[in-house]
């Protein structure tokens, strides 16, 4: 299996799909001539030409809506937000048009579109540039939300997202674009949405974490291991639909759950999982469900405050121990 960076895996998924289906095009700021702000679409202009790899002005509301219109009229757009912070400029299109048109038209119009780009904090970028959007977008019925943690999942899931006939929010990460990992070279490799991955098996506590947080969770699991605790780590991979079954099965085994999510805590993905698990597996829980998230504040700039802001392996270890009632 070849080793690819996350950005290369995403590019490979787009490229393969675009080779397969002429109705797919990629549009966004700096995606063509600049080869992508984070070099995700590098070389794609050369391969597909300016009709299919399209630079836009800084007009998110406009080009998100354009993508939806094109989707209604038979194309399959991939719309790149330079980061999901800027998707807020297009909020109306993404949350009020994308998820509702199929429903309101009684199924006459489908919207096969992928909105993709980096999500979440990426260092000291301050509050406007550090938003996590998974809970926001997953609140709107009609949207699907995918958030992979590694190149292999990114490739398989993005291909699925592009083929899906519904709007998909595909959340990447600036800080992970350079992350390397083996990627299946299986012909036409896809991964279904709504299937979590048990990344590490364990008996003592379940840790659920997606995207960047997944890597922090794995680090915490190693640290716990050194202290003799056996954590199971699950990467949900898709936020919506959510593979509750896999998470619940694990919790029924370990009887403890720590949810890691770098979003702000109030009304977050972590809150949602917490509710669903207590509903599904209340009798199996030996401790309240814990979560490790950003604090209930905007993201700061100062380096020490930003360190404090982001979930850390130490915090995860501490929460895991708390729910295991040790130390």
């Amino acid at each position: 299996m070849p080793e690819l960076q996350l950005r290369e895996a995403i590019r490979a998924a787009m490229t393969e799909e675009m080779e397969r289906d002429e109705d797919i095009f990629l549009m966004g700021e700096e995606v063509a001539e600049y080869n992508g702000a984070y070099k995700v679409s590098k070389g794609m202009l050369d391969q597909f030409g300016p009709e299919r790899i399209i630079d836009t002005p800084i007009s998110e509301n406009g080009f998100a809506g354009l993508g939806l219109g094109a989707a209604m009229n038979g194309l399959r757009p991939i719309i790149e937000f330079m980061t999901f912070n800027f998707s807020f400029v297009a909020f109306d299109q993404v949350v009020n048009n994308a998820p509702n048109i199929r429903y309101m038209s009684g199924g006459q119009f489908k919207l096969p579109i992928v909105f993709r780009g980096p999500n979440g904090a990426a260092g000291q970028l301050a509050a406007t540039h550090s938003n996590s959007t998974e809970s926001l977008y997953s609140n709107f019925p009609g949207l699907k939300v995918v958030s992979p943690s590694n190149p292999d999942d990114a490739k398989g899931l993005l291909k699925t997202a592009i083929r899906n006939d519904d709007p998909v929010i595909f959340l990447e990460s600036e800080l992970m674009y350079g992350l390397k990992g083996e990627v299946s070279d299986e012909d036409d490799y896809t991964i279904p949405m709504g299937a979590a991955r048990v990344a590490r098996e364990g008996e003592d506590v379940t840790i659920l974490a997606h995207s960047k947080s997944y890597h922090v969770a794995m680090e915490a699991a190693e640290a716990l291991d050194e202290e003799g605790y056996d954590a199971e780590v699950i990467d949900p991979r898709t936020i919506k639909p959510l593979d509750l079954e896999t998470i619940a099965r694990s919790v029924k085994k370990t009887n403890r759950l720590v949810v890691v999510d770098e979003s702000n805590p109030f009304a977050s993905f972590a809150s949602e999982v917490t509710h669903q698990i207590q509903d599904e597996a209340f009798d199996f829980l030996d401790a309240p469900i814990a979560r490790v998230t950003a604090p209930d504040t905007p993201a700061p700039y100062a380096p020490n405050l930003m360190d404090e802001y982001m979930p850390s392996a130490e915090e995860i270890v501490a929460e895991a121990k708390r729910v295991m009632y040790v130390e």
Binding site: E29, E30, E33, Y34, A37, D55, T56, P57, I58, S59, E60, N61, G62, N85, F86, F88, V89, G123, Q124, L125, A126, A127, T128, H129, P265, F266, R291, V292, T293, P295, D296, T297, P298, P300, Y301, A302, P303, N304, L305, E308, Y309
Partner: protein, 450 residues
Amino acid sequence: MATSTRKEDKQDERAQDAADEQASNEQAEKQQDDADAAAMANGQPDGEASDDDQPDAESDDIAEQAQDEKPQGEASGEDDSDEEPQDANDESPAGKPIDVPGEASLEVEFNTYPANSYAHDDLGFEEDDLIEIYRNMLLQRRFEERCRQMYQRQKISGFLHLYIGQEAVSTGSIQAIGLGEDTVITAYRDHGMALAMGMEPDACMAELFGKETGVSKGKGGSMHFFDAERRMFGGHGIVGAGVPLGAGIAFAHKYRGDDEICLCFFGDGAVNQGAFHEAANLAGLYDLPVVLICENNQYGMGTHIDRAMAESKVYRHAVSYDMPGGVANGMDVFSVNKAVRDHVEMAREGQPSLLELKTYRYQGHSISDPAKYRAEGELEGQQEQDAIARLHKYMLDEDLASEDALDEIDDEVKQETKDAIEFAEESDLPDEEAIYDDVYSEDDYPFLMR
């Protein structure tokens, strides 16, 4: 095409008359549709039971009106905007036939301010003022050269967008307002504006270092400099997002009836945001005391303005919002100053305007951008027009300062910048608890604690 359909020339009475003569059945039909639409908007869609027979009554009005159309058209043929508004309760578009001129054209004049067109005494600047202007522009440049270095040494993190090359815009503009009274808002490339407004290099550098002594207490970083006292309303990181704020700041000036105006700066890239167009329309509609200043450095990130804007002469967009437009050479501090003065004067009289300042950034978009998209020799060509070098030469040529005196200024601002770094180094990082400060107005807000 765009120009003729975008706005009909109000002065073109002949075209108007010709059109009025062509009042047709089509117009009557269209009006019927409009009436139906108005009825819908009233919450009375077709067929829905209603005690109120308003829609029918309206239809009758329309029918009458269509018959009367021609004479009324002549009566209102001059300038729509002078018409008294209809009674607010009268939902029908009565009294006005649809105006479609048989011909339409547009002729607009814009204010232009080329380089090398103004002398310092034309603008009322004395020698001392020139020295200050020179010092200020040079301070911005030296400060930012050090920023670059500090970023490389990892003292500064996050995004760092340098302003080098654009200093005449900030200094020339700020010299045209009442500092501390008039208000200013800008985008994220904000260090230059901050220094032009007299914000302390110490506190600016400390912000970049993320220290508690920074202009935003280490919460905002490079893109989010604020100074309420000097009436600097920020540094804004989302492209275009500051423009509606600028309209709002100006709205408050007008609402309170103070004599202050707002300078609202944004990049050429921001003109492509809906936010710009909505704010410009609001400013034009409400006659807000604002100068919308597009700092056109010709690129939004790696995209040249010609690849991003259907109408890339930014000043022309003023036409759509019924406001004066102007364009100045942003590499000549005198041209900038003259332009901003003229437009500020309009703003003080309640006339918003759009001013394009053409400039150039010498560095990449941010510190991590190698700027490979520039044409060969483009940067060097622009640097030949450098605003600081231009003023330097001007002062020497006009015998307003000696080479030595100007060198000394350079030494002074270099020292000031060094001191700023030292100040930033020595300052403390914010307390850990500060993460919860200034989220809400209360000191005891019940945060969700993890």
